[in-house]
């Protein structure tokens, strides 16, 4: 079976999801080809084909367009014609159709069984390609593309929903959002959650009692959707209640100024450290020192960082944003607190500090076991094989 995967960029080493998916499929004998605009020089998991460049100079673009159409005439005349008809019948203008033929000219000549779009947004302008090349069409719903993108682009997935053969969602909540955004409930869907390399994410140091000051960690991009401002507010409440802590945020992003200023205004500037982006393996050794791991997001597809934290046996407190409430089972493998309510988050942290050590050990063990059993790479790879092979 030959599978084409469409992404914006070839997955980097730390993007376990696609790395593992591609290597799992290849291991099972599937032929995988990646269609991505940008390819990292060290990516060698499979063949990569890039879409043609777009020039801002009309003359150059016109020549490139003619050349591509000439090539398609030789390599994929039927597919291109079929694509043209599908586009026009769906109501796309002639100009848009020509543009889309050009943009998809790297996929149209391929013989594939499945064309799988790694994010819903990568399928925009390519909704008819799979049908044109007589492949099945799959799409993954992952977070931003289903929770945020449609806010400013309502109806953007109308053609995608109509043409897709099977939908992959990383959490039930995201699937629910897709239904709200117009996905027909009769379309086949499969939930496959993210996974972690449990052989890598294994604690190497023994668990200690709570440090004083308490060591609290979060791994997150500095972005509003990660809910870090609410997190800082909750920690300011802890400070007022006389609980000393050191809070470390691992991750970089455009909202550093906003968050550093919030920490200052909340009076916890000296208790918060912004580590920036650090290598993946260092993240693990940093996290091993954590007493509590927080992921109090506003919007979250599923969150690999929380899986990794659980695999290390950390006590995790998360918000109920989309996939997070499936990632952690409240009271069993960690705690789930309603989002945007810093007072409740502070109360939960305080409650954990008063919990019996044996009980906390039970939570840590449950988290480790659940990640090992349910979120391991092998299971995820098997699920993907079923995605393509099961009716």
């Amino acid at each position: 079976m030959r599978i084409g995967l469409v992404l914006n960029t070839s997955p980097s080493y730390s993007e376990t999801f696609f790395q593992s998916k591609i290597s799992g499929l290849k291991y099972q004998g599937f032929d995988v080809i990646l269609f991505a605009e940008n390819k990292a020089s060290n990516f060698d998991l499979c063949q990569v084909k890039s879409p043609p460049k777009v020039s801002s100079f009309f003359g150059i673009q016109f020549i490139m367009l003619l050349w591509k159409f000439f090539q398609l005439g030789l390599t994929a005349p039927k597919q291109s014609y079929h694509f043209f008809c599908l586009e026009r019948n769906s109501g796309r203008s002639l100009k848009e159709t020509i543009k889309n033929i050009y943009l998809n000219s790297h996929i149209l000549p391929e013989k594939l069984d499945w064309l799988h779009f790694g994010f819903a947004t990568t399928a925009l302008r390519s909704e008819h390609v799979a049908k044109a090349i007589r492949a099945k069409m799959g799409v993954s719903l992952r977070g931003y593309d289903i929770a945020l993108y449609p806010l400013k682009h309502p109806e953007c997935y109308r053609l995608l929903w109509h043409n897709v053969d099977k939908v992959h969602a990383i959490s039930n909540d995201l699937l629910e959002l897709a239904y709200q955004n117009g996905l027909n409930s009769e379309k086949p869907v499969k939930k496959i959650t993210p996974a972690v390399d449990v052989s890598l994410y294994r604690r190497e140091t023994p668990i200690s009692t709570f440090h004083s000051p308490l060591k609290i960690f979060t791994v997150a991009r500095l972005h509003w959707k990660k809910g870090l401002e609410y997190t800082l507010e909750a920690l300011a409440i802890l400070k007022k209640q006389g609980i000393p802590f050191r809070y470390t945020i691992i991750g970089a992003g455009e909202e550093y100024e906003r968050l550093a200023f919030a920490a200052y205004q909340f009076g916890i500037q000296d208790w918060v450290s912004f580590k920036g982006k650090i290598p993946h393996d260092q993240v693990k050794s940093e996290l091993e020192n954590a007493d509590i791991y927080l992921q109090y997001s506003i919007q979250e597809g599923f969150c690999n960082a929380v899986l990794e934290a659980q695999a290390l046996g950390l006590l995790c407190v998360v918000s109920n944003a989309e996939g997070l409430s499936e990632n952690i089972i409240h009271g069993r493998s960690g705690w789930v607190v309603p989002k945007r309510q810093p007072r409740l988050l502070a109360e939960q942290i305080k409650a954990i500090l008063e919990m019996d050590e044996q009980y906390l050990l039970k939570i840590r063990t449950a988290a480790i076991e659940r990640v090992r059993n349910e979120f391991n790479l092998e299971k995820q790879q098997q699920e993907f094989i079923k995605f393509y092979t099961e009716e």
């Binding site: 945020l148 909202e255 205004q265 506003i298």
Partner: protein, 316 residues
């Protein structure tokens, strides 16, 4: 010529070209005073500090909002730049006393700081005067100002949610262009669609009209010098509920010219909005009248011009 020579010898970069242009302007016009409107731009005038003090133009910096209140607190490079250059600057124009005080931290000398409150063209606003302070079945809350995190719209929406949960009949309008995903997501997430309207920008006259129609002006900001839009609301007679960030308490005297809440404190924001809503019609009218008087007395255009002329003369 020396300037051109140094440009040709230096690396071609945007920064060097800007420096070249600024030096040229300086050489051609030979100004007595260089007034740097945004503190961080002082970097482009560093060359002036090498000229003997008796022959170089005087340097004045305006102390405004984020560049004084936020950036140096979280960015060490900016803090270092201010610490090096502020002690040599000849005068500081502060948009509020609070921001003047903040500049002391970065090396500004107290006797060189002059607070000059911004001036409002009251004649332009006079045609838009609020005349009725009675609140209809749904109270109309209004905010105006660009979408930026420091404007605190995410906090205002949390406040709106709390008001609705408490059974208040309110509607919130934001007039600002370019609504970001964060705000759209929050409105959807907290099911506020029916209670929020975002107007992506309108002519100033229409904004003033909207102010006469609203019941409360809300300033949820986490940082401000003194928000001009609050002065406009006060001049029009729209009662203001504002955070106490930056210099806001220099124009909003709590319980007299408006109501203040603790910055970032949503229960307090809600309590102050409710206090304003539950006040009598006469009470709100009294707020409006005191606010108007405050703006007339502290923010007249004439006063602003006179203060600036006097300030420039004092520096020379």
């Amino acid at each position: 010529m020396n300037n051109l020579k140094s440009l040709l010898l230096s690396k071609i970069s945007k920064e060097n070209l800007i420096n070249f242009n600024i030096k040229n302007i300086f050489l051609i016009f030979q100004p007595d005073i260089i007034h740097v409107q945004w503190a961080s731009h002082i970097l482009s005038f560093k060359f002036l500090f090498n000229i003997p003090i008796d022959i170089r133009p005087k340097i004045i910096i305006s102390l405004r909002g984020r560049l004084i209140n936020i950036t140096p607190r979280v960015d060490h490079k900016t803090a270092e730049l201010y610490r090096k250059t502020f002690p040599i600057v000849d005068g500081f124009h502060a948009v509020s006393s609070a921001i003047g005080f903040e500049a002391l931290r970065w090396g500004a000398e107290e006797n060189k700081i002059r607070v000059i409150y911004s001036g409002l063209d009251l004649a332009k606003i006079n045609t838009y005067t609020k005349k009725c302070w009675e609140i209809g079945p749904v109270a109309k809350i209004l905010s105006v100002g660009r979408f930026h995190w420091k404007k605190g719209y995410h906090l205002a929406l949390d406040g709106l949610k709390m008001l609705l949960d408490r059974g208040r009949a309110v509607h919130y309008t934001i007039i600002a262009p370019g609504v970001p995903d964060e705000v759209l997501y929050q409105i959807k997430d907290q099911q506020l669609n029916a209670f929020v309207e975002i107007i992506p920008g309108m002519a100033q006259s229409r904004v003033f009209e909207k102010m006469t129609e609203a019941d409360i002006f809300l300033l949820p900001s986490v940082e401000e010098g003194i928000a001009n839009v609050v002065l406009e609301a006060m001049a029009i007679g729209l009662p203001v509920v504002s955070s106490d960030c930056g210099g806001m308490d220099e124009v909003i005297q709590n319980n007299t010219t408006g109501l203040l809440f603790n910055t970032r404190n949503i229960p307090d924001m809600v309590a102050q909005i409710e206090k304003m809503l539950d006040d009598t019609v006469q009470g709100r009218e009294a707020f409006a009248q005191s606010a108007r008087q405050k703006v007339e007395q502290q923010h007249s255009l004439e006063g602003f011009r006179a203060d600036f002329n006097q300030f420039y003369n004092s520096v020379l």
